[in-house]
Amino acid sequence: MANPVPVLSVRKLSVSFGQRTVLEDLTFDVARGENLAIIGPNGAGKTVLLRALLNQLPYEGAIEWAPETKLGYVPQAIAADLQLPLQVGDLLAAKARLLKLPDKAVREAATIVDLGAELLATRIGVLSGGQFQKALITFALLGDPNVLLVDEPTASLDELAQEHIYELLEKLRLERNLTVLLVSHDLSVVYQFATKVLCLSKGRPCFGSPRDILTPDNLAAVYSAVPKFYQHVHHHDVKE
């Protein structure tokens, strides 16, 4: 799919912490409406890349977002402080007020994610993993972003809840023409939903369609051991 103006254009991006270089010379583009999966072993810099894209870290090189890009960020399941007397609704209302959104914004975002009134009145400390993830996605959707940056949305979820979250993200992408950048460990999910894959690894970063990237050879190079997943590669169809 040729798209003249990329939503995101990254050129020669490098991020270092002191002597340690985490990302080096990374170059890629993301077109509107795409679902870019960012994969790689632990410590390859996936979260660091997201934070650089959010402009929360000093970096070298260029990160250019298309004009009028609005970012929504879904962090990795945060260890929420169980003691906080904070309800989901408190949190969403706080963001809505900060962004000066109208009162109904919270309800609208909650409806999109199918987050009921009961959950809005639930304290954050007692949410289940899946509910918590949904709350974070609702939070990210406030302010009507056109790009979602999602960090390992399923790290602490059971399979059913995982699938639910991925399907939700895919629904959002298709219905609202969102661009999604998704850090994921789960290669079968990447294969099912991603339209592009960026793999980060100590050796050579690679970028392309899932069909090209998710080959046994490539995965062996990215992860030190070949994941079991590669046997399934041929059974899936790739949406592009």
Binding site: R51, L54, Q56, L71, Y73, P75, I78, A80, D81, Q83, L84, P85, L86, Q87, D90, L91, A93, A94, K95, R97, L98, L99, R123, I124, F139
Partner: protein, 258 residues
């Protein structure tokens, strides 16, 4: 009979209680309650110097208080140490220096405070400080909540964490400063800590929490002043106020059983 100066003193003490309840609620959520002890102790060396050289103790306290606050902020930023680690260092250090500097006969007042009639100017300055504290807390309430929940999410929502922390510490110190004369360097922090802890036990959402903390704080100060007024001895209200708020906390423990 109560003189206008004493009425000013009472009103300011009650206003201080409101600010302490609010600031304490956020300090509790930020898990930096003990910092209030440190911050109030940082005032002590300044008070000591003031007694020693005969200038206004509140001025001396304010000076070391704000220098100490900036120091704590910088230490947090530069060393990445948790606030509680700072507590250990600055707490003992400033208490020791302060106690060494303060003349013995003034030490009790410096540590435990004293109820005094206030001049109109002092009163108005105090009221302005309390209003500023309340205003800043409400102005930054949402940013504070987001940063409590997740600093990175807050940053992604364009909250400037570094500045927010400084504002909070400054408001915190300002609250301590207002309470200093009345509660003393040793106990000014207690009214930030204890009512918030009580409020937390009674509330399930943020608004209730803030309101309960403020009520617990105001009630402790009000009752404390009343009891002190009827005591035969010229007793400082600070210790009584703190004892009452500890009692309120003990009572709040009953809630679980109910």
């Amino acid at each position: 009979m109560t003189s206008p100066g004493e009425i000013y003193g009472i009103i300011l003490a009650l206003l201080f209680a409101v600010a302490a309840g609010l600031v304490g609620s956020f300090a509790l959520m930020k898990r930096m309650l003990l910092a209030s002890d440190v911050i109030s102790h940082v005032a002590l060396p300044g008070i000591g110097l003031a007694f020693l050289f005969g200038f206004n103790p509140i001025l001396g306290g304010a000076t070391t208080l704000f220098l100490g606050t900036l120091l704590i902020w910088q230490l947090q930023k530069k060393t990445g140490l948790a606030t509680d680690a700072m507590v250990g260092v600055v707490f003992a250090g400033s208490l020791a220096i302060g106690a060494a500097l303060t003349p013995q006969e003034d030490l009790v007042q410096a540590l435990f405070g004293r109820f005094q009639a206030l001049s109109l100017v002092t009163f108005l300055l105090g009221v302005a400080a309390v209003l500023l504290v309340i205003l800043v807390i409400f102005r930054f309430r949402d940013q504070l909540l987001l940063s409590l929940f997740s600093p990175e999410l807050a940053a992604a929502t364009s909250v400037r964490l570094d500045r927010l922390n400084l504002y909070f510490l400054l408001v915190f110190s300002l609250t301590v400063l207002v309470g200093l004369r009345f509660m003393g360097a040793l106990l000014a922090g207690a009214l930030i800590i204890i009512p918030a802890t009580t409020g937390r036990r009674l509330a399930s959402n943020v608004s209730h929490f803030l309101v309960s903390s403020c009520l617990a704080s105001v009630a402790a100060v009000g009752l404390g002043l009343l009891i002190t007024a009827f005591l035969p001895l010229r007793f400082s209200p600070g210790p009584i106020v703190v004892a009452i708020s500890a009692l309120f906390f003990a009572l709040s423990l009953l809630k679980e059983a109910a």
